[in-house]
Subunit: 602 residues, 2 copies
Amino acid sequence: MPEYKAPLREIKFVTDEVLDMPAHYASLPAFADVATPDMVDAIVTEGAKFCENVIAPLNKVGDQEGCTRHEDGTVTTPTGFKAAYQQFVEAGWPSMTHNEKFGGQGLPESLGIVMSEMVGTANWSWGMYPGLSHGAMNTITRWGSEEQKETYLHNLVSGEWTGTMCLTEPACGSDLGILKTKAEPNADGSYAISGTKIFISAGEHDMSGNIIHIVLARLPGAPEGTKGISLFIVPKYVVNEDGSLQGERNDLICGSIEHKMGIHGNSTCVMNFDGAKGWLIGEENKGLNCMFTFMNTARIGTALQGVAAAEGSFQGALTYARDRLAMRSLTGAKFPEKAADPIIVHPDVRKMLLTQKAFAEGGRALVYLTSKQNDIVHHGETEEERKAADDMLGFLTPIAKAFLTEVGLESANHGVQVYGGHGFIAEWGMEQIVRDTRISTLYEGTTGIQALDLLGRKVLMTQGGALKNFTKLMHTFCKEEADNEELAPFVTKLTEMNKEWGDLTMKVGMTAMKDRNEVGSASVDYLMYSGYVTLAYIWAKMAKVAQTALSNGTSEEDFYKAKLTTARFYFARILPRTNFHAESMVAGADTLMDLAEEHFQF
Amino acid sequence: MPEYKAPLREIKFVTDEVLDMPAHYASLPAFADVATPDMVDAIVTEGAKFCENVIAPLNKVGDQEGCTRHEDGTVTTPTGFKAAYQQFVEAGWPSMTHNEKFGGQGLPESLGIVMSEMVGTANWSWGMYPGLSHGAMNTITRWGSEEQKETYLHNLVSGEWTGTMCLTEPACGSDLGILKTKAEPNADGSYAISGTKIFISAGEHDMSGNIIHIVLARLPGAPEGTKGISLFIVPKYVVNEDGSLQGERNDLICGSIEHKMGIHGNSTCVMNFDGAKGWLIGEENKGLNCMFTFMNTARIGTALQGVAAAEGSFQGALTYARDRLAMRSLTGAKFPEKAADPIIVHPDVRKMLLTQKAFAEGGRALVYLTSKQNDIVHHGETEEERKAADDMLGFLTPIAKAFLTEVGLESANHGVQVYGGHGFIAEWGMEQIVRDTRISTLYEGTTGIQALDLLGRKVLMTQGGALKNFTKLMHTFCKEEADNEELAPFVTKLTEMNKEWGDLTMKVGMTAMKDRNEVGSASVDYLMYSGYVTLAYIWAKMAKVAQTALSNGTSEEDFYKAKLTTARFYFARILPRTNFHAESMVAGADTLMDLAEEHFQF
């Protein structure tokens, strides 16, 4: 069972050297005084200790024990989960990125993301409890009335209470327009919420004193479809205005815990609302719009699961590949004194390790870059800056979410494969990563949904504008490095891809004008293509940073050389996957639509 | 939870129309009288009923209950497994392909494969019990003395006893050369076997009266490495010459059952041999050669797991895609009377379904084609025929095993993805297929091992001869259809790929002469490339059969049109993956070897 080690040097490489976050924080008045380099270092170092020492050791326990629902609908989390959460609260972690007015520390989301990465890699199931709470807090902060904020936020920010997001129902997931949960007005201005919500992460548990559910429901006579959905706060225990509990339990209960492939440590609940008291947040019938405001944040959080799967499985596989002996190197024994060579000498084992490494390190940089936009959207000084960052955020989010979770799942499977038969055995920890991360391409919008969002809404609806904003960055980088001989292979390839990306977009856009199915036919290939190219840009940037460090002289020569080698690996062995996606995306919707529905048979 | 339906029409399409198995059986004296069309039909029809009605309903039970080891080392299989096995034995299924001399029915292996496919898709874990027994029987049939055959085969063939293959040890899997289990000669001509074997499928269970273990071990003073391994028969209960049991248990015991990601219904055991009585089979120190004779058969069986995963997940996903409502078709509502359209209208959902379908149907044809060679190897009339079939078998086996299990795993993941969040929930059955089939790329030689076998042993060591034998078939097909306008897109592409496959092989071969690591660097890409091209040939052949049926007039127009449409889909949306593998395989071993072992860090 591999121990998690927070990759602090790797994190610092991205935050300080690739993305220059210290300058970014200094430039934003909201963070200049709080997110100082010393403070950031202290937070990351302390966070790493918590993740390594407190929650990583609970990862296997959580998987094996799962959560237990009792007859009265209460739920017990796995051994150690509650105590770890208490430590987390005592150390003030829940309040990190929240408003100082409600007890928060006012630190940037992008710093929260660093902590979330470490928490998620150490123990994804555990991390979902504070993770969902974070989403609920963000929703109340943005859409709640001043009274609602006063009533709920203090205890949520401190971590004494937690929160959830209740969207999905048995017959509706991706298509929230058909949801059925009802909200009937009560005489006192509250609403009676009735309906069944499923897949509610952290829906019921024993960690916190109250659970604040954010629930999507329909008002009587609301328009059909997505335009008739409103958003409600529905607490497990009804709260007085001063934040104290009324004591009686609200009319909602966990009906059962889902039997899942993975993330057993998280309490994924069927929640039955039976006239539960709730309060409207935001305007009537604007609930879905309110939700979408925070979709990007939630989706960046899910993108992290891809990074976590790649990093966690890389750490496990690398440890094993150094230890396990099997056969000799194809070029002759490398360790003749041993019964056989460690399997890290074999090219294909290295291919799997390098793939995990390239996705983990490149993925981290992509998520941090995306989250950096989020800081600017909320705290940028000018409207123009905020707008530009919002466009970039909207463009990068579906790529980060869908692409990184897909390659995270691939990486986790490589982890199993490096272990051979042992990868299939629970004790070694590799198969759990596959099971846990399998959910990541499904929730918060499947890969298919993200792909339609990227190609349909973000790219085609902006006439390619959002894409151009990004490819401009690539273009600038390539121009700046045009005379850099060592980087020439990267720059030449990136320049080609930049053009091809635009050409393919144009081609898909043209056919889509004649047949809307062309969008759906191309979308997932387009998304994966975009992901590989985006990561190529990031790896080229990282290669540039490494090259600069090496030419300036450094005591960490090996570290920077490994970056250059990994970048070369990525360009030679991973990036050619775009060849396939480029051909497939323009093959035509008829390849998918020609077979009549009734002729699909078995 | 999807019900398994044996795809009888699909099976008949491959056996009768694509591979012309009736003519094949008629041409082999061993089978002409037994494997008549009527007999084959009756067997497949009866087999289908057994799989659908008896073992498919136990698939979920097996997963949930798993196997239970008791303190005395005995193991209880999941509820219903034993009774189903009794029905299987009573109906005579274990004896199907075995020698009539020992009570077998003398039917072809390729017909056994059809039954194995249905058994495996219905309930893979259950199918492993008779599956392993089959391997043990084949080993004794080929290498046992006449006495040993008399002693063991009657009860194995009837199914009263079962068998296992005990190869792997804690420190050795792929590299059997380092195994440690010892065989010390006893005075009575038997051997005392001592050591620990792991991952022993069906190692201990409650289904049969005795378990005959085939065990790899070392004699005292045996040469190191693979040249010092011998093969032993080690029964759970020692057997008298007449086949009756001596009563006392041999000195071997199941030490524990592995905690696995999937195939919970199979009893995967750690087996401790503590001076157990065993008898040498075959010559001293030739055990590994004996094993390799049967590797091909075992590997074809494992290739079936890929087909089973694709077929099973396709059946489940198709059923769900017709039922589940979400959003409207991009071209406007297709079912305006419903709250939303069924998700089968969405192009990307169809892409996943068509991918599963293309792999299931193409994979089935590839496995049956491979198994057809196996019939000829053992029963062909001339030495020349047998040799040619053996070469073809050796070439196709690593492709079928590794490629089909990889795309089977992919297909199973598409099954989960089509179900969205529900795919992650146990009740729907999709996640079990992913967990069960995850082992298939690991056991019987990992994908990496198969790839080295294909590129190193089968292709480069024959100077490309084995490849040429196969590409000659493709070439002949393309020449025959050169003037066939409707097939022109397939034929043109196949002709190109035929040339490219040869060119790439030459290129890899040349670099490998300078650096052996080039073989390992290219091997997995080479294998996947070969798999996609092989399946393209098969889909082109199936398209040809469909075209002929349509032009001759048929009452099953939809069936054959679906074949043509699926072939077009495969060529347009799957085959372009070769673009990636072609570029990656010749990118050079330095892309993998440049990073010094100690510079892999986290």
